[in-house]
């Protein structure tokens, strides 16, 4: 489904990703872990098409199409979803209006029929139940005045509504207390399916107690230096990222 080959990317002239390779099949959950500054968030931003990230080498294909050639909105319509580390507050834009505009824009881009407001509200009610989110949040402006936990839950709620093929969770656990973390993880788990893949980007192993990954990768120095199953995350928790450096750098240097 997602093939990242030898990806190099620069931000403000500084090379952050230095030859990242990763393959994700439908239904798989991949955790990307790594120390601060390793390029974790850059990966999410490059995949979703944010301005200011320059890809200098490598390729990303998604369901066989060149993802990097698409505008952000086209990537979304193709089925890529980024749950933001810092969801943006947008005063003056009603949350429900925004969600319907987003869903219908995606449907239109895919040649599907747009939903009228009755159909849309029915869908929203179904998804609200799954996410245990208060419908009061829907009547407010997008993320405006939301608590940290509400913002992250709103991200997962959007994901539930937009039903992407690939969801990238960018440090969704940051700033959440344990209760909020569990709620968010529950939401994510409810959306797991044999067709939907996840890239779970995180600094801490904690999130992976609740969202169990099929694969764990360690990103350091702009490359994946170690891959394994969920036991790798526990090893990291025990030894810290310093262990990866000792462990991973020689392999990288000789490559």
């Amino acid at each position: 489904m997602l093939n990242i080959e030898n990806l190099h990317a620069r931000v403000e002239g500084k090379e952050i990703l230095k030859g990242l390779t990763l393959r994700v099949k439908p239904g798989e959950v991949h955790a990307i872990m790594g120390p601060n500054g390793a390029g974790k968030s850059t990966l999410g931003n490059v995949l979703s098409g944010r301005d200011g990230y320059e890809v200098t080498a490598g390729s990303v294909t998604f369901d066989g199409i060149d993802l990097l050639a698409l505008e952000p909105e086209a990537r979304a319509a193709a089925g890529v979803f980024l749950a933001f580390q810092y969801p943006v507050e947008i005063p003056g834009v009603n949350n429900t209006y925004f969600l319907r505009a987003a869903l219908n824009a995606q449907r239109k881009a895919r040649g599907e029929k747009e939903l009228d407001s009755m159909q849309f509200l029915k869908l929203v009610r179904e998804k609200l139940k799954v996410m245990q989110i208060s419908d009061e949040l829907l009547h407010r402006a997008v993320n405006e005045g939301f608590s940290g936990g509400e913002k992250k839950r709103n991200e997962i709620f959007q994901m539930a509504l937009l039903e992407p093929k690939l969801a990238i969770l960018d440090e969704t656990d940051s700033g959440l207390d344990i209760d909020a973390l569990k709620q968010v993880a529950q939401g994510v788990n409810a959306l797991r399916s044999p067709q939907r893949s996840f890239l779970v980007i995180t600094h801490y192993q904690r999130l992976l107690d609740y969202i169990e990954p099929d694969f764990v990768h360690v990103l350091a120095g702009g490359r994946i230096v170690e891959s394994g199953d969920k036991a790798l995350a526990l090893k990291l928790e025990e030894h810290g990222y310093a262990w990866v450096k000792d462990h991973g750098e020689p392999a990288g240097a000789s490559a």
């Binding site: 098409g49 834009v93 869903l103 824009a105 402006a141």
Partner: protein
Amino acid sequence: MSQPAPLPFVASLLDAPLPASGIAWLDALRRAHLDAFAAAGLPDTRMEAWKYTALRALGQRRYANGDAQAAARAVDPAAFDLPGVDGPRLAFVNGVFRADLSALDDLPAGLVLQPLAQALRQDAEPLRFVLSRHEPEQGDAFVRLNAARAEDGVALKVAAGAKIAAPVHLVFLGAPAESDLAWHLRHVIELGEGAELALVEHHVGAEQQHLGTAVGDITLRDGAVLRQVLLQQAATGSSLIRRSRLQLGARAQATLHVLELGGALARHELRAELAGDGARLDTRGVFMPRGRQHIDTQLAIRHQALNTASESVWRGVADQRARGVFRGAILVAPGADGSDASLSNKNLLLSGQAEIDTKPELEIYADEVKAAHGATVGQLDERSLFYLRSRGIPHDEARALLTAAFCRAVLDDLPNAALREHLAGLLANQLPD
């Protein structure tokens, strides 16, 4: 010493006889204003009030005086159809009254609505004071031109205590003609004590490059309430210069919602006097020039009585190579103790070549005054734009959504819901794709 040749603009507008009303004081007034216009010409950017609005290009243009064919111009009434606005209507095409496009039958009790020319013919004397009381200042070229050449306009009067439910629609249409025309209208509007009126001033036009000037006096007697919407959608090639003078008596209230969208060169000078104790004025406006449009709003509010209040909320959005100008001057005169004045003007530049010049001014000569003012100029938030796009909303739609959100505060408290929705739609569609 020879006089320098007058500008083509000035020469063309002197090049027709003045209207003869047969009313001695009015004809003398017109003559005096035309002479003053001829002598002074157009103001230039060295004059503070015109610092950001250059008239060099206008000065080189020529206009024919008035439209002799106006009565025969074909106009599609759908052009000025507005949801939520279906009351009495007074319509002008290229500055000429059109009974066939107006709706003046069965006016509600207490409302007098007619063309000014008709009111002057019936009895000019009650209009004498208001038509002669203002002495133009330096730089008031268009006010002089208007005073000299305006033959018609809106004469509207609401009797004391009358509450007019249906909004009155004033339509000013520009229609294509054989040459570029100059037209001038003079409005006199009065709300008696305790009277209430909703008014929609609507400038709209097809493809043409006419010049229109309008000068209006709106007087609110004690306790009168005016809710006015000013929708300026003049043709993008046209020029429209207006001055509105608003006078509020004790406890009178006026609320203005303004959308300035049209015109190649559009300027509106709104001068309000809070003359009676407890008077209140709320203005909310958006100016949104695009292309090469130049839209200039000059707001001057004078607090002259005790416990008067004004709140002004304005948004400017300029795209492409457009220019927006906003000046908001609030003066609290000596003795106007207990006044409460606030003014906010936030602006958005959607292109690197767009420009907005904003200047809030505050002068206070009274005690126990609350006053606040502020202005900002910024760009669309890239993070918000990316957030919307990452959810599948195309770039142009995301931009329009954020711009509409930026302007939202201006329309929020407009009570006419149908009209509010329509205006919000106009704002969303004003941006080029």
